[in-house]
Protein backbone atom coordinates (compact mmCIF):
# COMPACT_ATOMS: atom_id res chain seq x y z
CA UNK A 1 0.00 0.00 0.00
CA UNK A 2 2.78 2.43 0.83
CA UNK A 3 4.20 1.96 -2.69
CA UNK A 4 0.84 2.86 -4.18
CA UNK A 5 0.71 5.99 -2.01
CA UNK A 6 4.24 7.01 -2.91
CA UNK A 7 3.68 6.52 -6.63
CA UNK A 8 0.45 8.55 -6.49
CA UNK A 9 2.20 11.39 -4.65
CA UNK A 10 5.20 11.33 -6.90
CA UNK A 11 3.07 11.73 -10.05
CA UNK A 12 1.20 14.63 -8.50
CA UNK A 13 4.30 16.39 -7.32
CA UNK A 14 5.79 16.36 -10.83
CA UNK A 15 2.96 18.44 -12.31
CA UNK A 16 4.02 22.00 -13.09
CA UNK A 17 3.05 24.49 -10.40
CA UNK A 18 2.42 21.91 -7.70
CA UNK A 19 4.02 22.91 -4.40
CA UNK A 20 3.24 19.65 -2.76
CA UNK A 21 0.79 16.84 -2.27
CA UNK A 22 -0.45 14.88 0.70
CA UNK A 23 -2.56 11.85 1.32
CA UNK A 24 -4.55 12.49 4.46
CA UNK A 25 -6.63 10.31 6.75
CA UNK A 26 -10.03 11.93 6.25
CA UNK A 27 -11.39 11.20 9.71
CA UNK A 28 -8.27 11.89 11.75
CA UNK A 29 -7.08 14.84 9.67
CA UNK A 30 -3.48 13.71 9.84
CA UNK A 31 -1.10 13.11 6.93
CA UNK A 32 -0.40 9.56 5.83
CA UNK A 33 2.30 10.48 3.33
CA UNK A 34 3.37 13.81 1.92
CA UNK A 35 5.75 15.55 -0.43
CA UNK A 36 5.69 19.27 0.28
CA UNK A 37 7.82 22.25 -0.58
CA UNK A 38 9.43 24.19 2.25
CA UNK A 39 7.09 26.67 3.84
CA UNK A 40 3.95 24.56 3.49
CA UNK A 41 2.75 23.65 6.98
CA UNK A 42 1.99 19.95 6.63
CA UNK A 43 -0.06 19.35 9.81
CA UNK A 44 -2.15 22.47 9.28
CA UNK A 45 -2.87 21.71 5.63
CA UNK A 46 -3.75 18.10 6.46
CA UNK A 47 -6.06 18.96 9.36
CA UNK A 48 -7.85 21.84 7.67
CA UNK A 49 -8.15 20.21 4.26
CA UNK A 50 -9.61 17.03 5.75
CA UNK A 51 -12.03 19.05 7.83
CA UNK A 52 -13.12 21.10 4.82
CA UNK A 53 -13.52 18.01 2.68
CA UNK A 54 -15.62 16.19 5.27
CA UNK A 55 -17.85 19.21 5.85
CA UNK A 56 -18.35 19.80 2.15
CA UNK A 57 -19.13 16.11 1.68
CA UNK A 58 -21.79 16.44 4.37
CA UNK A 59 -23.24 19.49 2.66
CA UNK A 60 -23.25 17.67 -0.68
CA UNK A 61 -25.05 14.77 0.95
CA UNK A 62 -27.58 17.07 2.58
CA UNK A 63 -28.27 18.69 -0.77
CA UNK A 64 -28.79 15.22 -2.29
CA UNK A 65 -25.83 15.69 -4.63
CA UNK A 66 -24.38 12.31 -3.74
CA UNK A 67 -20.79 11.66 -2.74
CA UNK A 68 -18.19 14.37 -3.04
CA UNK A 69 -15.49 13.58 -5.59
CA UNK A 70 -13.30 16.64 -5.83
CA UNK A 71 -13.09 19.98 -4.09
CA UNK A 72 -11.14 22.99 -5.28
CA UNK A 73 -10.25 25.96 -3.14
CA UNK A 74 -9.03 29.13 -4.83
CA UNK A 75 -7.07 31.69 -2.86
CA UNK A 76 -5.12 34.80 -3.83
CA UNK A 77 -1.79 33.05 -4.08
CA UNK A 78 -2.70 29.52 -4.96
CA UNK A 79 -5.07 26.59 -5.04
CA UNK A 80 -5.81 23.54 -2.97
CA UNK A 81 -7.34 20.63 -4.85
CA UNK A 82 -8.76 17.64 -2.98
CA UNK A 83 -10.06 14.31 -4.17
CA UNK A 84 -11.77 11.72 -2.01
CA UNK A 85 -10.48 8.16 -1.89
CA UNK A 86 -12.61 6.34 0.66
CA UNK A 87 -11.07 6.94 4.04
CA UNK A 88 -8.32 9.01 2.46
CA UNK A 89 -8.22 12.41 0.81
CA UNK A 90 -5.67 13.38 -1.79
CA UNK A 91 -4.66 17.01 -1.22
CA UNK A 92 -2.67 19.04 -3.73
CA UNK A 93 -1.27 22.51 -3.00
CA UNK A 94 -0.57 24.46 -6.16
CA UNK A 95 0.60 27.86 -7.36
CA UNK A 96 -1.94 30.37 -8.63
CA UNK A 97 -0.89 29.84 -12.25
CA UNK A 98 -0.64 26.05 -12.10
CA UNK A 99 -2.34 23.82 -14.66
CA UNK A 100 -5.48 23.14 -12.68
CA UNK A 101 -7.09 20.83 -15.22
CA UNK A 102 -4.11 18.54 -15.17
CA UNK A 103 -3.87 18.71 -11.39
CA UNK A 104 -7.53 17.77 -10.98
CA UNK A 105 -7.08 14.90 -13.39
CA UNK A 106 -4.01 13.61 -11.57
CA UNK A 107 -5.67 14.04 -8.17
CA UNK A 108 -8.68 12.03 -9.36
CA UNK A 109 -6.40 9.41 -10.85
CA UNK A 110 -4.47 9.20 -7.60
CA UNK A 111 -7.69 8.89 -5.62
CA UNK A 112 -8.89 6.16 -7.97
CA UNK A 113 -5.72 4.17 -7.43
CA UNK A 114 -6.16 4.39 -3.64
CA UNK A 115 -9.88 3.73 -3.27
Amino acid sequence: MSDVLSVALSRLSRVDGVRGALIVDAQAGVPVVSELADGVAEPAVAALAASLFRRTAKAAGAAAFGGLETLQLEAEAGHVVMAGAGELVVVVVAEADAQLGLIRLEAQRAAGSLA
Binding site: V24, Q27, G29, V30, P43, A44, S51, R54
Partner: protein, 163 residues
Protein backbone atom coordinates in the same frame (compact mmCIF):
# COMPACT_ATOMS: atom_id res chain seq x y z
CA UNK B 1 1.13 21.75 43.61
CA UNK B 2 1.05 25.51 43.81
CA UNK B 3 0.79 27.70 46.82
CA UNK B 4 -0.94 30.46 44.93
CA UNK B 5 -4.37 31.84 44.30
CA UNK B 6 -5.65 29.97 41.24
CA UNK B 7 -8.13 32.66 40.28
CA UNK B 8 -5.71 34.83 38.24
CA UNK B 9 -4.58 31.73 36.36
CA UNK B 10 -8.17 30.72 35.69
CA UNK B 11 -8.97 34.22 34.45
CA UNK B 12 -5.90 34.34 32.21
CA UNK B 13 -6.74 30.97 30.64
CA UNK B 14 -10.38 31.72 29.98
CA UNK B 15 -9.99 33.41 26.59
CA UNK B 16 -7.28 31.10 25.13
CA UNK B 17 -9.36 28.07 26.13
CA UNK B 18 -12.55 29.57 24.70
CA UNK B 19 -10.73 30.15 21.42
CA UNK B 20 -9.30 26.62 21.41
CA UNK B 21 -12.74 25.08 21.99
CA UNK B 22 -14.30 27.17 19.23
CA UNK B 23 -11.59 26.61 16.63
CA UNK B 24 -10.85 22.96 17.33
CA UNK B 25 -14.59 22.26 17.68
CA UNK B 26 -14.19 20.05 20.72
CA UNK B 27 -17.10 19.23 22.98
CA UNK B 28 -15.21 19.10 26.24
CA UNK B 29 -11.86 20.54 27.21
CA UNK B 30 -10.01 20.52 30.47
CA UNK B 31 -6.66 22.00 31.38
CA UNK B 32 -4.92 20.67 34.46
CA UNK B 33 -1.43 20.81 35.87
CA UNK B 34 0.70 17.78 36.66
CA UNK B 35 -0.87 17.50 40.10
CA UNK B 36 -4.36 17.29 38.66
CA UNK B 37 -5.38 20.81 39.67
CA UNK B 38 -8.02 22.21 37.33
CA UNK B 39 -7.07 25.45 35.62
CA UNK B 40 -9.70 25.66 32.91
CA UNK B 41 -12.68 23.69 31.70
CA UNK B 42 -15.34 23.80 29.04
CA UNK B 43 -18.36 21.57 28.52
CA UNK B 44 -18.66 19.81 31.86
CA UNK B 45 -21.89 20.26 33.76
CA UNK B 46 -21.10 18.35 36.93
CA UNK B 47 -18.21 19.10 39.23
CA UNK B 48 -17.54 15.46 40.11
CA UNK B 49 -16.98 14.69 36.43
CA UNK B 50 -14.34 17.43 36.25
CA UNK B 51 -12.58 16.12 39.33
CA UNK B 52 -12.62 12.54 38.05
CA UNK B 53 -11.35 13.45 34.60
CA UNK B 54 -8.66 15.73 36.03
CA UNK B 55 -7.41 13.03 38.37
CA UNK B 56 -7.46 10.41 35.63
CA UNK B 57 -5.66 12.76 33.24
CA UNK B 58 -2.90 13.42 35.74
CA UNK B 59 -2.58 9.69 36.43
CA UNK B 60 -2.55 8.81 32.73
CA UNK B 61 0.06 11.48 32.14
CA UNK B 62 2.26 10.11 34.90
CA UNK B 63 1.89 6.56 33.56
CA UNK B 64 2.59 7.61 29.98
CA UNK B 65 5.64 9.57 31.08
CA UNK B 66 6.97 6.56 32.98
CA UNK B 67 6.32 4.37 29.94
CA UNK B 68 8.09 6.86 27.68
CA UNK B 69 11.12 6.85 29.97
CA UNK B 70 11.15 3.04 30.10
CA UNK B 71 11.20 2.89 26.33
CA UNK B 72 13.94 5.47 26.04
CA UNK B 73 11.75 8.40 25.01
CA UNK B 74 12.36 11.71 26.67
CA UNK B 75 8.70 12.69 26.55
CA UNK B 76 5.43 11.81 24.90
CA UNK B 77 3.35 14.16 22.79
CA UNK B 78 -0.21 12.93 23.07
CA UNK B 79 -2.45 10.03 23.92
CA UNK B 80 -5.38 9.47 21.58
CA UNK B 81 -8.31 7.21 22.20
CA UNK B 82 -10.87 6.77 19.44
CA UNK B 83 -14.26 5.49 20.55
CA UNK B 84 -17.21 4.81 18.30
CA UNK B 85 -18.71 8.27 18.70
CA UNK B 86 -16.28 10.25 20.80
CA UNK B 87 -12.53 10.60 20.76
CA UNK B 88 -10.24 11.72 23.51
CA UNK B 89 -6.87 13.41 23.31
CA UNK B 90 -4.69 13.89 26.32
CA UNK B 91 -1.69 16.08 25.56
CA UNK B 92 0.91 17.66 27.81
CA UNK B 93 2.60 20.92 26.91
CA UNK B 94 5.25 23.04 28.56
CA UNK B 95 5.13 26.60 29.77
CA UNK B 96 8.14 28.34 31.34
CA UNK B 97 6.49 27.81 34.75
CA UNK B 98 5.19 24.28 34.59
CA UNK B 99 3.84 21.48 32.48
CA UNK B 100 0.11 21.51 31.76
CA UNK B 101 -2.11 18.74 30.43
CA UNK B 102 -4.97 19.29 28.03
CA UNK B 103 -7.84 16.81 27.89
CA UNK B 104 -10.05 17.24 24.85
CA UNK B 105 -13.09 15.18 23.95
CA UNK B 106 -14.56 15.57 20.49
CA UNK B 107 -16.90 13.93 17.99
CA UNK B 108 -16.95 13.75 14.20
CA UNK B 109 -17.23 17.53 14.02
CA UNK B 110 -13.52 17.72 14.78
CA UNK B 111 -10.50 15.50 14.25
CA UNK B 112 -7.20 14.57 15.82
CA UNK B 113 -5.43 16.80 13.32
CA UNK B 114 -7.54 19.84 14.18
CA UNK B 115 -7.06 19.29 17.90
CA UNK B 116 -3.30 18.99 17.44
CA UNK B 117 -3.21 22.08 15.25
CA UNK B 118 -5.05 24.31 17.70
CA UNK B 119 -3.37 22.77 20.71
CA UNK B 120 -0.10 24.07 19.32
CA UNK B 121 -1.58 27.56 19.22
CA UNK B 122 -3.06 27.20 22.70
CA UNK B 123 0.28 26.05 24.09
CA UNK B 124 1.98 29.05 22.50
CA UNK B 125 -0.56 31.48 23.92
CA UNK B 126 -0.51 30.00 27.41
CA UNK B 127 3.29 29.90 27.36
CA UNK B 128 3.28 33.67 26.79
CA UNK B 129 0.98 34.46 29.71
CA UNK B 130 2.78 36.28 32.52
CA UNK B 131 1.08 33.99 35.05
CA UNK B 132 2.99 31.00 33.67
CA UNK B 133 6.46 32.52 33.47
CA UNK B 134 7.85 31.29 36.76
CA UNK B 135 7.92 28.06 38.72
CA UNK B 136 5.64 28.36 41.71
CA UNK B 137 5.91 26.96 45.20
CA UNK B 138 4.53 23.60 46.30
CA UNK B 139 1.84 23.22 48.89
CA UNK B 140 0.55 20.41 51.07
CA UNK B 141 -2.39 18.03 50.50
CA UNK B 142 -4.81 20.16 52.51
CA UNK B 143 -3.90 23.20 50.46
CA UNK B 144 -4.41 21.24 47.30
CA UNK B 145 -7.92 20.26 48.44
CA UNK B 146 -8.75 23.86 49.25
CA UNK B 147 -7.54 25.05 45.85
CA UNK B 148 -9.44 22.29 44.11
CA UNK B 149 -12.69 23.16 45.83
CA UNK B 150 -12.19 26.85 45.24
CA UNK B 151 -11.46 26.20 41.59
CA UNK B 152 -14.58 24.09 41.14
CA UNK B 153 -16.74 26.68 42.87
CA UNK B 154 -15.30 29.31 40.62
CA UNK B 155 -15.90 27.35 37.37
CA UNK B 156 -19.44 26.32 38.12
CA UNK B 157 -20.46 29.64 39.69
CA UNK B 158 -19.31 31.50 36.58
CA UNK B 159 -21.07 29.03 34.27
CA UNK B 160 -24.30 29.33 36.19
CA UNK B 161 -23.91 33.08 36.18
CA UNK B 162 -23.37 33.25 32.41
CA UNK B 163 -26.07 30.67 31.57
Amino acid sequence: MRQVDLQPLVEALREPMRRFVREARVRIALLVNGSGQILAQHGFTRSYEVVSVAALAAAAHAAARALAQLTGQARWTHLHHAGQELQLVLAPFHTPGEELILVAIFDEDSSLGLVQLYLERLAGEVGQLPQFQRVLAFTDAAGFERELEAGLRSFFASELGSG
